[in-house]
Amino acid sequence: MTKVLECSNCGYRTFYKKKHCLECGGQEWNKQEPGVGELLAITTVHVSPEGVREPNRLGIARFEGANLVAQIRKGLNPGDNVKLDDSNILREGDNGTHVGAQFAPVDD
């Protein structure tokens, strides 16, 4: 499941794995449930790398303390609340098929 990484030293939150915290340099991370986010912007991409769906609908959403770019389900619009729905096929690429989170309506 996709989790938010929270720095155990300063509380900085991110969805993007990194060894050191951007705020304090700490190296210990706690995994937290992301909860519900708000979709800030969307785009439909018509020119994608090989192995990626076309069109590729993407969105950026703000969760508590951390933003994420991910594929979105049809019908979602900026301002909508979203949750992360795991176990979607995202693309073919390095290391074969990538499976992960898409944005989905909270009542899905």
């Binding site: 790398p49 090989e50 693309r91 990538h98």
Partner: protein, 392 residues
Amino acid sequence: MTQSTGSGEPLDRSPTITGVGMTVFTNKDERPLLELLTTAADRALDDADVIPTNIDSLHVGNAAAEAFNRRSGLANALSSELGITDITARRIENTSASGASAFLDAFDAIRSGRSQAALIIGGEKMSAADTATSTEIISRITHDAEYEQGVTLPSFAGLAADRYFRMYDADREDLAHVAVKNHDNARQNPYAHFDKEVTVDDVLESPVVADPLRLYDCCPTGDGAAAVLLTAGDDGVEVAACEGAVGTHAVADRSDPLKIESVREAGNSAYAAADVTPADIDVACIHDAFSILEWLEVEELGLAERGKAWQLTVDGTTNRDGSLPINPGGGLKARGHPLGGTGISQIIELVWQLRGDAPNNRAVGDVNCGLAVNVAGFGNNSVCTVLKGETA
């Protein structure tokens, strides 16, 4: 050759640019990468009236010759082509800001006293790879979690444009004017990729790439090289500052999709080092890989208030005959974007404008202070340079 081993004293004044030269940026140049780079280098040296053996250091900006051209060891191969030995030479990689990063490296070499004459050459030959390969190479600059989602650079630009239109009063048609302006500027630039007038309707009717952005909102990649000779002397165009700043790798790690903190940081550092403010900037070359970036970067650099850059485009302020011309050479949008060549081509455009060498139909009038910003990825790492003319 004077200080190749680095025993000089730190420079107590600004380095100066005494020679510039470039190749025409184009969709496909039949010449090999090394020949493109050498051609630009020879033009810069001719412009400065300097021979290769008088150079102290060589700084090569290139993003991905290994991937595009199966060429590694680029700086060494280029030194050999130029007939230079016994000096320090290196290749600098910072994706689409490789050119300005190489310039920053040379700037530091001159200021430290390690070099008295630094030749910077930036270039890329991207036509050697097919579109799919090229898209893949460029998309690999993203964080692994972004890669997994199939994110490309136009994807980020599409998200930013969507957000901008929702937050501010600008609309899709307003944004089209960025491309119209930059194409019009490129038509006066014989080194530009495009020599084609486009209208607002052309932009709005071009194919969608990453909604709401269309094909004419995106810069063309291609082939080209550009070179600059930077020296410790006091003749030439003054380089008052060159500063870099890295941002977050993952774009969503930023506080807002419209913020490009690396541009803001590099810009503020450059203003401080050059002892200028945004109000002193007479002309700017902005990294408009996508039309929306011109607005976002103009705002980050304090050349417009946040949410107001679009007004400068719509009211003509950023036209060649406006009070703050932006991208008079056509920008990435229409001069073209051979990755490693771009940052140097921006500096060359400023040099031409400051020296009064730009032809009448492209000259932006009385300018004394110019700014260039070259951006890696979608704001991963930015380099900002401030140049001053002789009367600044």
